[in-house]
Amino acid sequence: MSTTTEISGNENAIADELRRYQEEQMQALGLTASRQQWFDPVPRQFLAKDKASTTILFGGLTMAHDYLIEGALSGLGYNVKHLDCPDNESLRYGKEFGNRGQCNPTYFTVGNLIKYLTYLRDVEGKSKEEIVANYLFITSGSCGPCRFGTYVTEYRKALRDAGFDGFRVLLFQQQSGLKQATGSDSALKLDTAFFLSFLKAVLLGDILNAIGYRIRPYEVEPGATDAALERCKHRLYEALRQRKWLIPALLACRRELQAIRVDRTQAKPKVSVIGEFWAMTTEGDGNYQLQRFLEKEGAEVDVQLLTAWILYLIWEGRYDTLKRMRLRGEDGGRYGLAGKNPVMRLRMLWAADRVLRLMFYSYAKLLGLSGYHLPDMDEVARVAHQHYNNHLRGGEGHMEVGKLILNVVKRKVNMTISVKPFGCMPSSGVSDGVQSLITEKYPDAIFLPIETTGDGAINVYSRVQMMLFKAKQAAQKEFEEALAQQGITLERLRNLADRPAFAHPLKTSRHRVACTAANAVYSLRRFPWLSVRSSKEEMHSV
């Protein structure tokens, strides 16, 4: 035994010596350099102990939403700050630090964060370390298939290149709920309270926006609507921040809004702004302040609500589950039902849809948004399907096509503008191509697709004016037909201008045509006895 040990001991010594020698020789021959490989550590921690010292940055929705969400999250004990609406300066930052060939929303939103951090560093004099330690950015993400899902990649790249390595970007996924970025020691508690607060802010923002776009074009005293909305927003912000009971605040807001004087005898074309989610939602340079421009040019704007987007996400879940439930076997993957309970999932989604609608309509009623209908997502999908397959996703999916068809078929609006940010794959690359067929099928549609590049505003305005002219004629025609049908002259209408249909800011008339003034004219009762009977009928039906 001892000999063996000796030999192996000897061998070990030789092996050690050889190893040493090898290293030495490798050094001498220059063979030590090994290839480095790149790795992206993805900083995402937000620990409970840092909650008090950390400011959460976010932004990118409408100004009302950003402001109210800030209030809601403050109410949950976070330090929050919403970023300003992205402007052309943000776009410049985005282009400098982002990848080449990105879509415009990426440049705007990514640039907006870099712009703010640069401001913190260069104007407020904070060090990079301070900024990285005390701030983080929260955004939503998705699993594609368009570039929206790679925003976070882009944020990381731009932050790295702008000198903010290690800055945290947290995201909550759209489809798979709010499971990321959470953990037992995480400061961000993505629980029911968080979700409800967030949802409340979204719904209230939506409703305020919807009311604003309805009243502003008809206001008698310029600026009255915006002033009232500001007061409402502030009131709601405080209620959310202090986690107070919302109803009194909502009623107070309603009183504010009721006081605005309007004149709905003006025939204005109703213009629906659809398109890519960000481009149609933002209110800044990202879409050339399109909504304001349209109002200035004499249109009433109909915007898409964030709630509709949430409904779309719910629809996606339901559609995908329904399509797979009765397969012979369960597939894996993101859409497959392996390991999932489809029936339960459908029920949950159904319930989510109902709760969302219920909450929306309740708040809407309290705030004074009457006669508003959230879209029927199944209907949108159905009318779009033969042109834009419902299985195709990304961006608004089939919705741009579906909304355009419904706008025309149901005479919802006089004109539809579809806003496509430069380089948007689903919108410019697919919807646009399909929409050209839709306009052929529905020659009455006044439709304008515009691509937003961030520059060349004059050309865009010019094209909008070009189409708006037609929409104005269409609205005027509707208005004149309404007058003719009701047998009312313009002079007589002036005498009726104080009727609620024309003068009450929160009153809406039943939908018959697109133009609001025309609908108001239609709502006038021609014979007093008829009105008594119809109101009786209404009561009866209730």
Binding site: Q25, V152, K157, G336, H387, H391, D444, G456, I458, M466
Partner: protein, 1175 residues
């Protein structure tokens, strides 16, 4: 001034219509009652729009002095009207609306209008709604792109050099048309310049341009709509260029025929498509018509006082708000800058009688100019020569050499040339004829020159007249480089063009620009867009000084952000060298230096003292080195070179016959010293012209084929193999066979979800008639997009169902001809790979279907594609790729249903390749009726399809593995093409891979990399052991947002290349590729951290950038050969190491050879270099 219609007297109210365009102002005064034009005028404004409007209003005021101001209304239209309108109380009317109103008033029977303006192009189509009888005007305008506008025509007319009178007399002739890319104004200009250089007659070029512009507008601006007759042509170019009118008259009826549009054939075409009189006033008149619809208080004329005030003060004040900083802030700053950066004037050396001058000559033979330098043995530059190219590099060279000789000998000295080196596009012919010692590519020449001058340089930025080259260096060698492709954004021409606009000599550019106190903020990017910006800024009132300064400030942004795309310049290093002819313009230098300093505060920025001759100097320096090392020169000798005789031939025999263009060419034949003939061919406009005749082509092709045989190109192989029949599907089970099926039911109340119960039944077969029918069916599939990932599946699926293998017809490979024929359906402008799908459908419908009828065309919306990768978020297709079949359906059924009229069924079902059960359902539902199949049959065929996919993958991986192992054993390099699957289409990759193949590098495709975790582990061991990833086939360590399947595969392939020592990367990416954009930064990080040899061809589009590909290939070949040397050195060192270890062991053990081996094995020191020695 034109005074029209009736006397002005007696008029009591007026409406003025003013049209402020990009070059002219047009005004009309109209009687609101009769709608008659009372007065009109039309003048160029020379960028002083407001002044011209004022002039007109004064004239109108005088003419109609009796009309009270309250009774005058004014409406303005045109791109320049915006800022002016408010000052005179005018209401702004959008141009297209104005023109529409005028046309409706004046020509109620017109069906469409085409107006070409200076900066815009508009099309109006009046469609009649069949239900209501209403007339709807469908209007469209170009966006920001200048393609197809008057500006492009103007620019090109200058390049062609045809006098205006002659242009006005020209007639359209389509017998000899040449390729002009009208897609982009800049490309068009480049093409025109090439045609001029090729000696194409001016008339042919102008006709080609007209044709390109007409086709561009017909295919893009109509957004897929067909023009209605009669067609009204408006705008300057349409009015003044008869050949353009004739071109419309030729092409529009052709589109009518193609689309089956019914138009009156008995009406002469001059009446169907016509130019009205006084067309220039239509917009102004239309503005008035618009005004008549407005309420009386709208457009009340306010007089001219406010406009005067605006002209005097308002504009400057307004500009100040948005303007940017000037180029220089103070006199002292400028002086200091001048001291540091003024390029010292070059004083040629003087020679004394009897002096013996020993020197080399370096020559840079460019396409527009040539430069030569005389450099002595110590590297000092003695003389410089410059020559504008005369199209014959031999003559240019001879002249420059003669001048050099005469200068030296003229002073009585004796000149001995000890070497001659060449670079630039003439280098090849000079190498052959003059036996040059050195023939190097421009990029390498530039690097050598800068390194010679400044030593350890990090970045070289060379901005020439035509292109930008930015080289990144490490250890005195090119680590990476970027070239501007065809795009002229940021090159010297841009500044030159701007100076020309203002009639300022380029030498005075800087002086003028330094005077500006503020600058307009141009948005950087495309040169045509910049020009559009320029026009807008002029409208806003910026002066020429300010515009010149503003443009100089854009230059660095275009270079660094648009071309180079490097945001953090500090990463590049500290020492920057600026060279290229543009550096003589100090305004450009100032902007560059400031830009770099702002981002790299401690940067050392140098300007090459001979910025224009850097290439020639580099060639000279390399010649010195080579000659010194070799000890002798191969150069023919100065006198022999000057006396070189050559024969030029330009006749019918030299005409290129490779395409219908029949370009005229010049052959320049020179005798080489060994008695051979070296031929240089000039005057061709495309690369086909570089080959003299058919035999030469055959010879060349043969040579290349021979080379290609030695070096496999798996991309090419894959592109062919994928579409072939290579797998015989198993026979369909008979109805006697039993199968397992599953019955799906919902559990009671749905609690617990869905219940699946397995049971057995017979396989269901469709009827014999249905099978018989299928055996005769022909199915067309476009060879595009996701089909490049799934082709074997589709072929096998249909073959299994009984479709004959010859009846599965894929469209042809993409080619330029195919695109020209079938690219006219689209209404959108996405990436080329997606856009070209329409041409493939056209190819199927109009080529294959004509040959033998197709029953259906299958173009599925593939939402998810298969992946080999682990831990991915999803495996989704790009939304454009997935949605393209829907877009195609819309485009081909819009006005006419091209499928229905040809009896072809178009099928575009959504299909996923990541969920097998779902896929089966989707395919059965899609093909059940058309193919009359049972679900069992379809499901069986799906399984067979997958089998074929797996076999194909396995075969490709086997081939890839063999190549990888071979190059590793031989210490050579293989080139891995990373891109999207459809980049394997030779029409999309422009054959660039072949260029490398013939250089001796085998080409790998991404599919051919083995996907066996065991095999891959060697390369990914560190990543797995450190826990960064769980699998070799994973990208979460670099990219967690990995849902886009093709992008993920590309990123993974980059990771693999970064870890395999013998793999170099060629990265292909299409212009406008949305899903490649987020990966640019990732791939750059992965590749550059590992130091893998890398070259990229981004922004690939329809046309092949041959020149740029050429330089890239040569430069990349240079770094690849260096890299291969390093690999060989490394292998030699490793062998040396093994030897030393063996020796050491011998010392330690004193064993003989046999025993030694045994001990080595037992101690684990076997000869496994890669195991024990990290690379």
């Amino acid at each position: 001034m034109v005074l029209m219609a009736k006397e002005a007297a007696g008029q009591d109210s007026l409406i003025i219509g003013v049209d402020v365009g990009s070059t002219t102002v047009k005004a009309t005064v109209v009687d609101p009652d009769t709608r008659e034009i009372l007065w009109s005028d039309y003048q160029r404004h020379h960028t002083k729009q407001a002044e011209k409007v004022l002039e007109f209003l004064v004239a109108i005021g005088n003419q109609f002095a009796h009309v009270r101001r309250e009774n005058i209304r004014i409406f303005m239209t045109g791109s320049g009207a915006g800022p002016i309108a408010e000052h005179v109380g005018a209401k702004f009317v959008q141009e297209v609306n104005a023109v529409t109103m005028a046309v409706e008033q004046l020509h109620p029977d017109v069906g469409s209008v085409i107006e070409l303006g200076g900066q815009d192009a508009k099309i109006i189509i009046f469609k009649v709604n069949e239900e209501t009888g209403d007339k709807q005007a469908i209007t469209s305008m170009n966006d920001k792109c200048a393609s197809g506008t008057g500006a492009t025509i103007d620019k090109c007319m200058i390049k062609v050099g045809m006098p205006m009178e002659e242009v006005g007399r020209l007639h359209f002739d389509d017998s000899k048309l040449h390729h002009v890319a009208a897609k982009c104004g800049v490309f068009a200009e480049t093409d025109i310049v090439n045609l001029v250089k090729s000696g194409i007659p001016a008339a042919e070029i102008m006709c080609s341009l007209a044709d390109a512009i007409v086709m561009q507008n017909l295919s893009v601006l109509t957004r897929g709509n067909t023009l209605r007759h009669r067609v009204l042509l408006l705008g300057g170019p349409n009015t003044y260029l008869p050949f353009l009118q004739e071109c419309w008259r030729k092409r529009i009826p052709q589109t009518w025929e193609e689309r089956g549009y019914q138009y009156p054939r008995d009406v002469p075409v001059e009446e169907l498509i016509f130019v009205p009189e006084n067309s220039q006033y239509y917009a102004a008149y239309g503005a008035v018509m618009y005004g008549l619809h407005e309420q009386a208080e709208v457009g009340a004329y306010k007089g001219i006082e406010a406009l005067k005030a605006f002209i005097a003060h308002g504009r400057k004040a307004k500009l100040g708000e948005n303007a940017g900083p000037p180029l220089v802030r103070s006199v002292s700053e400028l002086e200091e800058f001048r001291r540091t950066y003024s390029i010292p004037p070059f004083t040629p050396a003087s020679f004394s009688p009897g002096q013996k001058v020993r020197a080399v000559i370096g020559l840079d033979g460019g396409s527009t100019s040539s430069k030569a330098v005389l450099v002595d043995e110590s590297g000092a530059i003695l003389l410089k020569e410059y020559q504008l190219s005369k199209g014959n590099p031999l003559e240019d060279t001879k002249e420059m050499l003669r001048r050099i000789r005469d200068k030296v000998t003229g002073e009585g000295a004796e000149l001995e040339i000890i070497g001659f080196g060449a670079t630039g596009y003439a280098a090849d012919v000079l190498e052959k004829t003059l036996r040059a010692d050195v023939n190097i590519v421009e990029t390498v020449a530039h690097m050598m020159s800068a390194v010679h001058q400044f030593g350890d340089v990090d970045v070289i930025c060379d901005i020439g007249g035509q292109d930008i080259k930015v080289l990144f260096l490490k250890n005195g060698d090119i680590r990476n480089f970027r070239l501007s492709n065809q795009c002229s954004a940021g090159n010297g021409m841009l500044l030159q063009a701007m100076a020309d606009q203002f009639g300022i000599p380029i030498q005075e550019y800087a002086e003028t620009a330094f005077k500006a106190e503020l600058t307009p903020k141009f948005s950087y990017g495309c040169a045509v867009f910049l020009d559009a910006d320029r026009v807008n800024f002029q409208k806003e009132g910026y002066s020429k000084e300010e515009l010149l300064a503003g443009l100089a400030l854009v230059l660095p942004k275009n270079v660094w952000q648009y071309v180079v795309q490097i945001p953090r310049m500090a990463e590049l290093g500290r020492t920057f060298v600026l060279q290229g002819g543009t550096q003589y313009n100090l305004a450009a230098v100032k902007a560059q230096v400031d830009y770099i300093r702002e981002r790299v505060p401690d940067a050392k920025v140098y300007v090459h003292p001979h910025p224009g001759e850097a290439g020639a100097i580099g060639a000279a320096m390399e010649t010195l080195r080579v000659v010194k090392r070799r000890g002798y020169s191969t150069f023919l000798g100065l006198d022999a070179a000057i006396g070189l005789s050559y024969i030029t031939r330009n006749d019918e025999s030299t005409r290129c016959t490779f395409c219908p263009n029949h370009c005229s060419r010049t052959f320049i034949d020179a005798k080489t010293p060994d008695g051979q003939t070296a031929r240089y061919i000039s005057g061709f406009s495309c690369e086909k012209g570089t080959v003299e005749d058919k035999e030469a082509v055959i010879r060349l092709t043969k040579q290349r084929q021979e080379l290609k045989k030695h070096y496999p190109n798996l991309v090419e192989y894959e592109a062919t193999r994928m579409f072939q029949h290579f797998y015989d599907p198993e026979p369909m089970p008979t109805a006697d066979e039993t199968v397992n099926d599953v019955r799906v039911t919902r559990r009671w109340l749905g609690l617990g979800g869905v219940r699946r119960k397995v049971y057995t039944r017979h396989f269901q077969r469709s009827s014999a008639e249905a099978a018989e029918r299928r055996s005769r069916m022909r199915i067309g599939i476009p060879r595009v997009l996701n089909i490049w990932s799934t082709a074997p599946f589709w072929r096998t699926y249909f073959e299994t169902l009984g479709i004959d293998k010859n009846n599965i017809v894929f469209s042809d490979y993409t080619s330029e001809e195919m695109w020209l024929e079938g690219g006219k359906y689209g209404s959108i402008d996405p990436c080329y790979p997606s856009k070209v799908a329409q041409a493939h459908i056209h190819n199927l419908l109009f080529k294959h279907h004509e040959r033998k009828p197709l029953d259906c065309i299958v173009f599925p919306c593939i939402t998810h594609i298969p992946t080999h990768l682990q831990n991915v978020m999803d495996s989704a297709s790009c939304p454009i790729v997935a949605g393209a079949p829907n877009v195609i359906k819309a485009a081909f059924t819009k006005e006419i249903d091209f499928f229905a009229t040809r009896g072809v069924t178009y099928l575009d079902p959504a299909v996923t390749f990541t969920e097998r059960h779902m896929m089966k359902k989707q395919l059965f539902e899609a093909f059940r009726d058309v193919l009359q199949i049972t679900e069992d049959e379809s499901d069986f065929a799906v399984e067979q399809g997958w089998r074929a996919m797996d076999l194909f993958d396995a075969e490709m991986q086997e081939r890839g593995k063999a190549i990888l192992e071979q190059v590793e054993a031989e210490n050579r390099l293989a080139i891995l093409m990373i891109g999207r699957p459809y980049h394997s289409d030779p029409g999309l990759n422009h054959g660039v891979l072949e260029e490398f193949q013939v250089l001796g590098y085998p080409i790998l495709s991404m599919r051919s990399i083995p996907k066996d975790e065991q095999w891959l582990r060697r390369f990914f061991r560190d990543d797995i052991e450190s826990g960064r990833v769980e699998h070799a086939l994973e990208v979460t360590d670099v990219w967690p947002e990995n849902f886009s399947s093709n992008s993920v595969q590309k990123v993974w392939a980059a990771k693999f290349a970064a870890r395999h020592p013998n793999v170099a990367v060629l990265d292909l990416s299409s212009f406008k590729c949305g899903h490649d954009a987020p990966t640019y930064g990732l791939i750059d990080k992965i590749i550059s951290t590992a130091g893998t040899p890398y070259s990229a061809l981004h922004d690939i589009d329809a046309n092949k950038p041959s020149g740029s590909i050429n330089i890239r290939v040569k430069t990349y070949a240079h770094s690849l050969s260096l890299h291969e040397e390093r690999l060989q050195d490394l292998a030699a060192k490793k062998a040396e190491l093994q030897k030393r270890i063996e020796q050491k062991r011998r010392e330690l053990l004193g064993l003989d050879t046999q025993e030694r081996t045994a001990v080595m094995e037992s101690t684990g020191f076997a000869q496994t270099g890669s195991e024990s020695i990290p690379l």
